[in-house]
Subunit: 324 residues, 2 copies
């Protein structure tokens, strides 16, 4: 369903709204990895993660009458903020459904970006029923976090930029490591690169214990995570790869990579010291794989997407204290 | 001596070597300031500060035979790293003269970028004599940190980018706040904007107690700082504005702004939370002025240059602990 045409159309809609993030690097990181390391800092995107791309893409693809009624999303994290800001900038309402035990700062930030936050009790409430009722009553359109073609197309615009930026640097062969949850960013970037930079191969990266995508790619069918909580890399924890994203990843991506939480924290500290960017643990797994698992990738150049930077300040201080 | 032509020539030499840093912003920062705040994150430049622009500009302007003998600089900070990496990428030697009590991490980083570091004793050594002797023996060219036309031209390329980026956003009136030490960046940006974006006015920003530029602009002659140590904003502490930079600032800049160290630390914490970038105290003074002294600037939009990000990790943790 998703295609390069859709990604290029999304890029036209995002023009002047999403940020074109640069490619960063440091000779110190190259030394650690033993090859050239380039980092695509999507933490610098609006709302601090790549999710704004997909949110804007989905919102801007709706017909104006539908869009005017508003959108709804289920998320306590980066997707909520990306959709909310995209809705606000379109001048339409956003309703975000979150569990009542979501961290207060996430609720506050999502509200501050302009959303109506509807809280439900995880134990007694039925999230989907609450969302369906709200959507029906108000005519809201559900924006899914990854299994939605226009969201995948929006995330794919990050891949178009990587293709252009590597071409400018004369790089035509590289592995592109991407922090992977449901696979929206991974699939979108892989689709963009398939045609625009066929020498670049995408590799999804996950934290240990939550490697549903790596196992799914290995077994050839959708595998699930045994648990969904207890990871510092919460931004990229999903039950399983998406039904739309998985076939794309299966066709285009190399084997998945897995890193420890400790690796992610070390990568956060190095991104602070050497790149001057803030990455959250889930957003740091690709850089961690590039730096600390060099034998798992091939070639002279590795590109690591830093997918988000919404790190808790206490955790960030801890990463610096231990590793910087 | 410096001119727009020189800046544009420097920009051509820097093309493909220096990073074009983006313009960042956040609705949360706009709310604090009461107007639109755009941040030019030169902390994302190579070596973590704008100094790479001036270093590359100066190196690339030398005739090849002169350049091949190498360059020398006096610096324990960002200028040393900028010059060293520019020299390394040109394949020529760099000698950096530093006091023997410079922080070990700065010595190590400068060496790691490829410099030969020559240490001298502050009490007994004569820095200038040591430098002059080395330069004479080896035919090294001295790269001064700000009072050097090609360095000013290199820093001015940051201003060309601001002019282009604000034009893309439809902004033709704004104050541009710049952390100011010797005035190389301030003067270079002001020269670029004079012609390329005449509605943008540059304002130098300094820390309390080290406001030589603000006082010089006020009195109309070069004033000196009573002391040169004891500031967290060490990256932008110089004895006085430069002889080349001051007349440019006097002709083109608005009155200087002054912020407290506490303001700088708060701005660092907000840049972490809202922009996902790492700024050092001296690099944060312009953002601090934009956020916490809104009555001192005018207009709908303020642009703050974040000039560097080489923050000590302990100090950064402290800023987060107190203010994030």
């Amino acid at each position: 369903m998703s295609s390069l045409d859709m990604i290029e159309a999304a890029a036209r809609r995002l023009q002047g709204h999403a940020r074109r993030t640069p490619l960063l690097g440091s000779p110190f990181l190259d030394d650690i990895a033993g090859r050239r390391v380039l980092v695509k800092p999507e933490c610098l995107q609006h709302t601090g993660s790549f999710k704004f791309r997909g949110g804007w893409s989905a919102l801007s693809a709706l017909d104006p009458a539908t869009r005017a009624r508003g959108v709804i999303a289920f998320s306590s994290g980066n997707h909520a903020q990306g959709v909310t800001l995209a809705a606000k900038l379109h001048g339409v309402p956003a309703v975000i459904v979150m569990p009542s035990d979501a961290p207060r700062i996430k609720v506050e930030n999502t509200r501050a970006y302009g959303a109506e936050v509807v809280l439900y009790d995880r134990a007694s409430g039925d999230r989907d029923a609450i969302g369906a009722q709200l959507a029906a009553e108000r005519g809201l359109t559900l924006i899914k976090p990854y299994d939605e073609p226009q969201v995948i197309a929006g995330q794919g615009t990050c891949g178009l930029e990587i293709a252009e930026q590597t071409a400018e640097l004369g790089i035509d062969q590289a592995e592109v490591l991407i922090p992977c949850g449901g696979g929206g960013l991974t699939a979108g970037v892989a689709l963009a690169l398939e045609t625009k930079a066929p020498g670049l191969r995408v590799r999804p990266v996950e934290p240990e214990g939550f490697d549903d995508v790596a196992r799914s790619l290995q077994s050839g069918r959708i595998e699930r995570n045994p648990r969904l909580s207890g990871s510092l890399c919460d931004a990229i924890i999903t039950p399983s790869p998406g039904e739309l994203t998985f076939p794309i990843m299966q066709r285009l991506c190399g084997p998945g990579l897995v890193v420890s939480e400790e690796d992610a924290l070390r990568a956060m500290a190095l991104a602070f010291t050497r790149l001057k960017i803030v990455i959250e643990p889930g957003g740091a797994v690709a850089l961690a794989a590039a730096l600390f698992h060099p034998a798992s990738t091939a070639g002279d150049t590795v590109i690591a997407v830093a997918s988000g930077g919404n790190a808790d300040s206490g955790l960030f201080r801890q990463a610096l204290e231990t590793h910087a």
